[in-house]
């Protein structure tokens, strides 16, 4: 079998991305009696538990710019971000009618309240507000988190009618470890040779992992990485930037393309953090729930949705990302009305200022149509990097 080209893989991923009916997930479910699908919202959920229950974790990142929101506005005022309203739209228009459960991770007040709304709107579907600790001591936050995970595990056992064994969990952890390694490999490739794996492509490839079974996605990742490395593409006179603030409501694809068009190489980002949340492999030996909790407490990504207990550490993750990827600046792109991202931003900017890293900031919505102002702002940023850099 010949390896598919990047454009073939990307085309497939784009199809998955545009499919607001989640056809592949529907087909997966229909393929075998008794299969269940559990939907989850950003930012992070231990998908391993769902996988171990023999179910398909389905990432729901809003409706994007292809969904015309008709009913969603009946649920949300104009000053609330888009993702909950497009998610509700997906729900009330029946696009999620095959989903057997929904998880609302603790990320902000909007998603939190959405969990209650879901209970009102779809009383017959299992839904859970998935609380996570914001304190990171083993005895305190750890115990609480293990409690939450075990509760969830028990819920899934009830739904599926069979036990989730530690063995199954370990197996799932292994599968996801591999998937995370591949995602990280793709990110590393993009950071090193961004022209080979443009951000808009990498985005689609990683995003496919939200709707595909993880094993299938890992194959896809491998294929894309191999194809990207073997194709030759022209090097552009672009500047390297890290984009941040997009951890929940996803930017429209055109926004990512516009950034590239205006002269940016995106070398790191916080899109769909669930795919990269845990840093490094989760150990396979011992109590799997304990291991997942340890990874969450001590080896996980930073975002605005997390409390940073250590003042000195605030924002350092961003400085490290810049250093590690050789970026020349940071773009803060936040969803309009996203309190976590927007409240965090001034603090992060202060950290960057102190580190002498240039940055700019703008807002978007998942359905932003007009890209010209974004091109202009990103373009001006790149202009000033380019005109004044030593080269």
């Amino acid at each position: 079998m010949t390896n598919p080209t990047t454009s073939e893989i990307v085309a497939r991923c784009q199809e998955l991305y545009e499919d607001l009916n989640f056809t592949t997930a529907r087909e997966w479910k229909a393929a075998e009696a008794g299969r269940k699908v559990i939907g989850y919202l950003p930012v992070y959920i231990p998908r391993e538990i769902i996988h171990a229950a023999g179910m398909l974790p389905l990432g729901i990142m809003g409706g994007g710019d292809n969904l015309e929101v008709i009913h969603g506005d009946a649920y949300y005022q104009s000053y609330i971000c888009r993702i909950p309203r497009s998610t509700v739209e997906l729900g009330v228009t029946g696009r999620l009618d095959f989903v057997d459960g929904m998880l609302f991770p603790s990320i902000c007040d909007v998603i939190r309240n959405l969990s209650g709304m879901w209970k009102m709107l779809f009383p017959e579907v299992y839904s859970k507000y998935f609380d996570v600790p914001q304190t990171y001591q083993d005895e305190i936050g750890g115990t609480f988190y293990m409690g939450e995970m075990n509760e969830f595990r028990a819920d899934l056992e009830k739904i599926s009618g069979r036990k989730i064994t530690d063995e199954a969990l370990r197996n799932s952890i292994e599968v996801y470890n591999e998937n995370r390694q591949l995602v990280n490999e793709l990110y590393t490739l993009r950071a090193q040779k961004p022209w080979l794996a443009p951000a808009s492509e990498a985005y689609l490839v990683v995003r496919a992992g939200l709707v595909l079974p993880v094993e299938e996605h890992s194959v896809l990742l491998r294929q894309y990485i191999d194809a990207a490395q073997s194709e030759s593409r022209p090097i552009k006179d672009n500047s390297r930037v890290v984009v941040t603030g997009m951890f929940c409501e996803q930017p429209p694809l055109n926004l990512i393309k516009s950034l590239e068009l205006s002269g940016c190489f995106v070398v790191d980002d916080d899109f769909m953090l669930v795919s990269r949340w845990l840093i490094g492999d989760v150990p396979l030996e011992g109590d799997p729930i304990y291991n997942l909790s340890q990874a969450f407490l001590h080896h996980s990504m930073s975002t605005a949705a997390k409390y940073e207990p250590n003042e000195e550490e605030k924002g350092q993750f961003l400085v490290r990302a810049v250093k590690e990827t050789g970026a020349e600046g940071v773009i803060f792109a936040s969803t309009s009305f996203c309190d976590p991202a927007l409240l965090d931003r001034p603090m992060l900017q202060n950290v960057l200022k102190a580190a002498g890293i240039p940055f700019i900031a703008f807002k978007y919505a998942e359905n932003s149509g007009q890209m010209q102002p974004i091109r202009e702002q990103a373009g001006t940023f790149v202009d000033s990097i380019k005109l004044w850099s030593a080269a």
Binding site: S262, R375, E376, Q377, G379, T380, D383, S384, L387, W388
Partner: protein, 281 residues
């Protein structure tokens, strides 16, 4: 010697300029402006460019760099593209080397920019995706009041009791203006009121990017409007902690084109120095 052209494709007008740069001396050879008025901007860009070539008495192939700015990214014959704020800042610095802050007021957007000494943009902000308080907005109102565009400024500065205009929709403003007319408010007072309301928005934009005592140069089409320039002065004077002066220039509308041409020349020389040649095609 470097010859460079700048073409600024805006939403209201296309502007073009040609420069000769030699030993740091910048000589402006030609300029041209064409209002778009529902015509194809790309074609107008060509026409405006050809006009400048003719005026400068040179051929396209004599040019070392053709720079576009504004919405000119897709012009086929450019050497490179600079984004509006980059070029406006540079153009303003050419028109008045003293200025450090730039307020560009075009047909749809307002852009506040700060530069450091070498002309590098250090901070900026654009107005949002609502056209309230834009050039188009003023144009609509003037049209309704039956006032020609070049009359606006003069009338506005003659106001004796400006009407208080809160920020209103650029499209629905008409109704509010009708309201004012029917309450017997004079055109100068209406215009001044609108200028003040626009200016206060723009002044806030300037302050938010950290303008304190820099000389602010107005660029773009509305810089021609002395009423708005005056209103900017008044609004900035009202702001605590800001002592910035405001200036404009008769060629302010060309700032983008000028800046693009000069950056083009700069980039050409820089690349040439490193042995690369990007001859205009």
């Amino acid at each position: 010697m470097t010859l460079a052209a700048g073409i600024d494709v805006g939403t209201g007008a296309v502007k073009a300029a040609i420069f000769r740069v030699e030993d740091g001396r910048e000589e402006w050879l030609a300029k041209s402006i064409m209002r778009i008025r529902q015509r194809d901007p790309m074609q107008l860009a060509r026409e405006a460019f050809d006009q400048t070539l003719e005026e400068a008495g040179i051929k396209e192939s004599d040019l070392d760099y053709i720079a576009t700015t504004g919405e000119g990214e897709s012009i086929p014959f450019h050497t490179g593209h600079f984004y509006s704020m980059t070029s406006h800042a540079r153009g303003a610095r050419f028109l008045d080397p003293e200025c450090r802050a730039i307020m560009d007021c075009g047909a749809l957007h307002g852009r506040a920019i700060i530069t450091n000494d070498p002309g590098k943009v250090t901070n900026y902000k654009m107005t949002s995706q609502c056209a309230s308080g834009s050039g188009q907005f003023l144009e609509n109102i003037a049209r309704y009041l039956g006032i020609a565009q070049d009359e606006i400024g003069k009338l506005s500065v003659s106001a004796d009791n400006p009407e208080n205009v809160s920020s209103i929709c650029a499209v629905l403003a008409e109704t509010d203006v009708i309201n004012m007319v029917s309450r017997g408010i004079t055109s100068p007072n209406i215009l001044k009121g609108i200028h003040l309301s626009m200016a206060s928005r723009l002044a806030r934009l300037l302050k938010s990017i950290g303008v304190k005592n820099e000389l602010v140069m107005m660029t773009g089409g509305l810089a021609q409007d002395e009423g708005l320039v005056e209103a900017m002065r008044e609004e900035l004077a009202k702001m605590r902690g800001v002592t910035a002066e405001v200036t404009s220039h008769t060629d302010s509308i060309f700032a983008g084109a000028i800046g693009a041409a000069l950056w083009g020349a700069f980039r050409h020389d820089k690349l040439a120095a490193s042995g690369m040649h990007l001859k205009a095609s």
